[in-house]
Point group: C2
Chain length 168, copies 2
Amino acid sequence: MRILSIHADRLWYHATKKTRMAEPTNVREDRMEECVVLFCCVEKLDEKDPDQVIRSATAGVRKRLAMLHVNRVLIYPYAHLTSTLGSPPVALYILKGLESSLIDTKVEVKRAPFGWYKEFEIRGKGHPLADLSMTICPYHGTECDFTCPYCHHPFKEGDAGHICGGAL
Amino acid sequence: MRILSIHADRLWYHATKKTRMAEPTNVREDRMEECVVLFCCVEKLDEKDPDQVIRSATAGVRKRLAMLHVNRVLIYPYAHLTSTLGSPPVALYILKGLESSLIDTKVEVKRAPFGWYKEFEIRGKGHPLADLSMTICPYHGTECDFTCPYCHHPFKEGDAGHICGGAL
């Protein structure tokens, strides 16, 4: 899962049009101020253990919120951060899970609807920690930022060294 | 090189603070309206052939501009789209090259300064083609969206099938 996190004065969106995988929603337009906007993109690899991805994303987001002294987030599905998108049902499961899990830890949360085209306006604060990105992987206690887009298995650094020292 | 392209009503930015790799600039604040904003992120692999990346990015951007009937772009350096960043000198070379190359083809271009923290405001149009992403690779006539982050060499699909069918 890739998350681009932007500390913003405000975000406004308006869901203009459904895609084929649109979730039903009564909230087509919303806004939030003085918040962190989480542009979220669930990847193929996340299908391996969605619950672990939720736990790890929650921990990563909370850490950054503490650093920024912010307690308010808007989860904004954004498919354009990867070339290996996860399946829509898993993506929605993870986004809803992240929402619930942050609410459980007393963070104020809104979530923009999944699978809609949206016009939006954001004003990013632009201080040194305002824009951050995270790569969340479904493994316990490991850093993993590299996946084969063909078989969707992760590479470990050792594997890569071995493979890439060869004929490639 | 990753490019996130957003068809926008407007973008405004203000360069608030230098990073260590800031380019000198007299333009700390600027705006553009009815344009395509290109959030650009030069990757390690692009160092292999920066001129080919410029040519390929120019062609990709022009194709998308034609589709959107837009002739005005703002090139916005944005490091948060990859985990394998290219070196700052190569990144600046490619961004400036893309700027010149688009100007040569009669596109109206502005470029936000490289290496600065920036506050910004963007309003994205949200129609089905408004948000697009591109992965540009430094190879002629090939599609290449997959790179080893350890050795920075590309994998071909055939290699991946072979490797990933094995012990991984």
